[in-house]
Amino acid sequence: MAARRSPACRDCRATDAARRSLMDAPISRRRVVQLGFGAAVSVYAAQTLSNRDLLAAASAEAAAAPTAPVLVNVFLPGGVDLLDTLVPADYGRYADLRGAVKVTDPLALAGTDVRANPALGAGLGGGVAGLFDRGRIGFLPGIDYANPDLSHFNSRHYWETGRIDTGPGPGWLGRWIDRHGTGDNPFQAMSLGSTLSPLLRGTSRPAAAVSSPADAQAWVPNVWGEWDDSYRAHWTKVAGHTPSGAGPAAVYAAARQSQQVARALAPYVAQDGKPDPLASPVAWPKPDDAPGGGSDFSEELRVLAALLAQPLGIRTATIEASGQFDTHDDQKNELSSGLKGVSTALAAFQADLEARRIADRVLTLVWTEFGRRPEANASGGTDHGAGGIAWVMGTRAKSGILSTYPDLRTFDGEDNLKVTVDFRTVYASVLEQWMGTGADEVLPDAGKVGRLKVVA
């Protein structure tokens, strides 16, 4: 069967004994193939790379600004339904609209008259609902933009670029990196996973896509030790060229930066017999414990929390949740399963940052491309709609319900919720209040969209 994801890091599975034996020369090719390639490089790299190599540009930047704010951007793909996620105060009207789809046992949220889907109670300390109760979350119900486009791809594109324009353009965080990033540190703009998020695309500055330190390593068969160093030097020299054209430029940049990322992350690859350099101070859910396909998301967030504590100079990181939120059918189960995975992973992430004492410099923005039709459809789901949900999370996030909950009795001309806050208002507010930089240099409409308090 075509499973949705490949087994994580298939190429770095190795037993402790087997890894040790790698150091005994000569190593047969068969043997290394059995062991996996990640194992070989991690042992070799950790032995030969000095701290000087590791620190390089990344740590210079991190050292220069050890408390620089970090923005973590979490995307929930598909269009998360507002009503079943944050259940409105007017339950009677809600129940009429939703019929059998409705959430029957929502959780109270301290100090508010809305309630949460019970799946948001999953995870450490009561999950996302628990974080809200402890003042770590500000919810943004009704978020969207005027005349919402119900296409996943148009709407996503607007959120990704920060412009209401279907034409191609760089991501809004890519534009921020263009203004405030450096020319030599790919970690400044990092996507978790194997592709660079459209949020970061289009930047002329380095950016990285990383699943884990082990997954960033690469090994060359039959070329060892100093010969390998020499080989990499020749390879990297070619990659140093900057050809014209979008395709060649992207290939050569990725080639250069992939070698840089591998070198910088090599010391963080777990070695047998030694403590895991990225071991977490909190109990993360085991990947299998996160239903709704939350496992990759949870694992990537775990790696991110650990890397944020290292001197890598990460300024913005993007990550996509594994859940499926385009709930045209069977919304009750699909949404619950998706939100459970999100809640479990985000609760562990926030607890991890707090335990590492780096939470005060990390703000997380969670978003989805649109909301859903208030009235349920006949498939036990909801169709694309307007007025979705987003939230800011962190020890310094402004907590509470930060925008007006849409009225359930008057809809827009297409039977959708009326939008109560523009996502660009939130972007502009985050840039100014959190990143401490101007909003208009990144968002062309920053002057028109107003501001909202998102940082306490």
Binding site: S6, F153, P198, D215, W219, N222, Y231, V238, A250, S258
Partner: protein, 460 residues
């Protein structure tokens, strides 16, 4: 359909049809070629090559439909339905061995265009067969078939969408992604009206998956609808007919096909109009449009500086062809995903992002690892007696090129390969006691890996 190349003498070895032209065309219209295949088509000329690609017939391997060793993993034949990743290997094998490379390439195009995911393997394999059968045929026939396809209907909630409450999912993507393009001449109202017209499909379900779908007239909304300005008691066939007849459809589809084969530079106005005309006049057939695109001078621009980023599966299948390696490991299944393109699992109904978006540090690392796997086994692996201590640097580069199917490289790469070989050989006997024989093999291993993993190997 007659072959009518847009320009140039068909059978000629003049500068209008060089080996580089043949190499470019084989990559863009298929999955590259072996050095022998490139030489064969260079000799035959552009017209014959395009004709063979579009229409099939006798090629370098006669009339055989599949050429080369059958796939075997762990000593066994593939089991696409039951073993993880074997569905992907099964298709990859067709890309490697099929003598209708353009058919496989367009099947891949349609898999991206009518992107479907999260469905059971038998349904996905059935859909794949459907896409292949219509790959170069009539677009309306393809659209009719895919609209009735259980995997598609299940993915986009068309199955069980009934008159009481039509589901808009399929109607929206039909216009936005499949036929017209986003915001291209339709409104939200058109989507909702089309959704009504598309009602009537019901599934025969087993364990939450539709085994098959059937049309149930009682579930269909037979009222009057207005779709794209046309009023009538429309049903699903009418919707497909109405959208395909729009002028926006022809422009949208020919532009997408152009981008697929030619790259990021969109066709100029006159070219787009000519392609749309060819498409409409042929009765909305794919082959004539593709034939014109493959014959267009724009496809052969900058032969010395390829600018298209190879799709991950094109890189895998093409490199396996180039080095002459059959499907013999399931590594290609998970590597294609790490490279950013897991077959049968597109990231969304919009398919994959092409071009520069294929590249990231992680996907480049996966492409590097792909070369590592290739260099770890026959035929690319450097065995005990494959490198000679008598070879000089130029000999080494020549042998490495031969072992890797002589891929295109830039002048910068050529120069660096030479420096690498000279540097390695100059080290001579090392303090660790490495023998000349060992150094010869190291040199050869490094050169081969470079040719398959370097930035130039990602471009075509």
């Amino acid at each position: 359909v007659e072959v009518t190349p847009v320009a140039a003498p068909a059978r000629s070895r003049s500068s209008s049809w060089t080996a580089a032209h043949a190499e470019r065309l084989l990559w863009r219209a298929g999955f590259g070629g072996t050095p022998a295949e490139r030489a064969y088509w260079h000799h035959r000329g552009r017209g014959a090559t395009v004709s063979w690609l579009v229409h099939g017939g006798h090629g370098p391997h006669g009339a055989r439909s599949m050429v080369g060793a059958k796939p075997r993993v762990d000593g066994k034949a593939l089991d696409p339905v039951n073993v993880w990743g074997h569905d992907r290997l099964w298709w990859l094998d067709r890309m490697v061995r099929s003598q209708r490379p353009l058919v496989e390439k367009l099947t891949l195009f349609w898999h991206d265009h009518f992107a479907t995911a999260e469905q059971e393997t038998p349904l996905m394999l059935a859909q794949n067969k459907l896409l292949r059968a219509h790959a170069l045929g009539s677009f309306p026939d393809l659209l009719t078939a895919i609209t009735q396809d259980p995997a598609m209907q299940s993915f986009l909630s068309l199955v069980d969408s009934s008159k009481d409450d039509p589901n808009e999912n399929y109607a929206r993507e039909l216009m936005e992604l499949f036929t017209l393009g986003a915001d291209n001449g339709y409104t939200e109202k058109d989507v909702r009206e089309a959704a009504r017209a598309l009602t009537g499909w019901q599934g025969v379900w087993k364990e939450g998956e539709p085994l098959r779908v059937r049309y149930v007239p009682e579930a269909h909304d037979d009222g009057v609808k207005t779709i794209l300005g046309q009023r009538g008691r429309w049903d699903w066939r009418d919707v497909l007919r109405i959208v395909v007849a729009r002028p926006e459809h022809a422009t949208f589809l020919v532009t997408k096909l152009w981008t697929f084969f030619v790259g990021d530079t969109p066709p100029d106005k006159a070219t787009r109009r000519a392609l749309a005309r060819t498409y409409v006049r042929s009765g909305h057939r794919i082959a004539p449009v593709v034939q014109d695109i493959l014959s267009s001078p724009a496809l052969y621009r900058k032969l010395d500086r390829p600018a298209m980023v190879k799709w991950p599966v094109v890189q895998i299948a093409g490199t396996l062809r180039q080095v002459g390696r059959p499907i013999d490991t399931d590594a290609w299944s998970w590597l294609q995903e790490e490279m950013g393109q897991g077959l049968f699992d597109p990231p969304s109904v919009a398919g994959w992002d092409w071009g520069a978006a294929w590249m990231s540090t992680a996907s480049m690392r996966a492409r590097f690892i792909f070369a590592t796997y290739l260099c770890s086994d026959a035929p690319v692996e450097v065995g005990k007696h494959t490198a000679s201590v008598r070879w000089n640097a130029a000999d080494h580069v020549r042998h490495a090129r031969k072992a890797t199917g002589d891929p295109w490289t830039s002048a910068a790469t050529d120069a660096e390969l030479g420096r690498l070989a000279r540097g390695f050989l100059a080290k001579g006997r090392t303090p660790q006691g490495d023998t000349p024989d060992y150094i010869a093999r190291l040199t050869q291993a490094a050169l081969r890996h470079f040719l398959l993993s370097g930035p130039d190997a990602q471009l075509c």
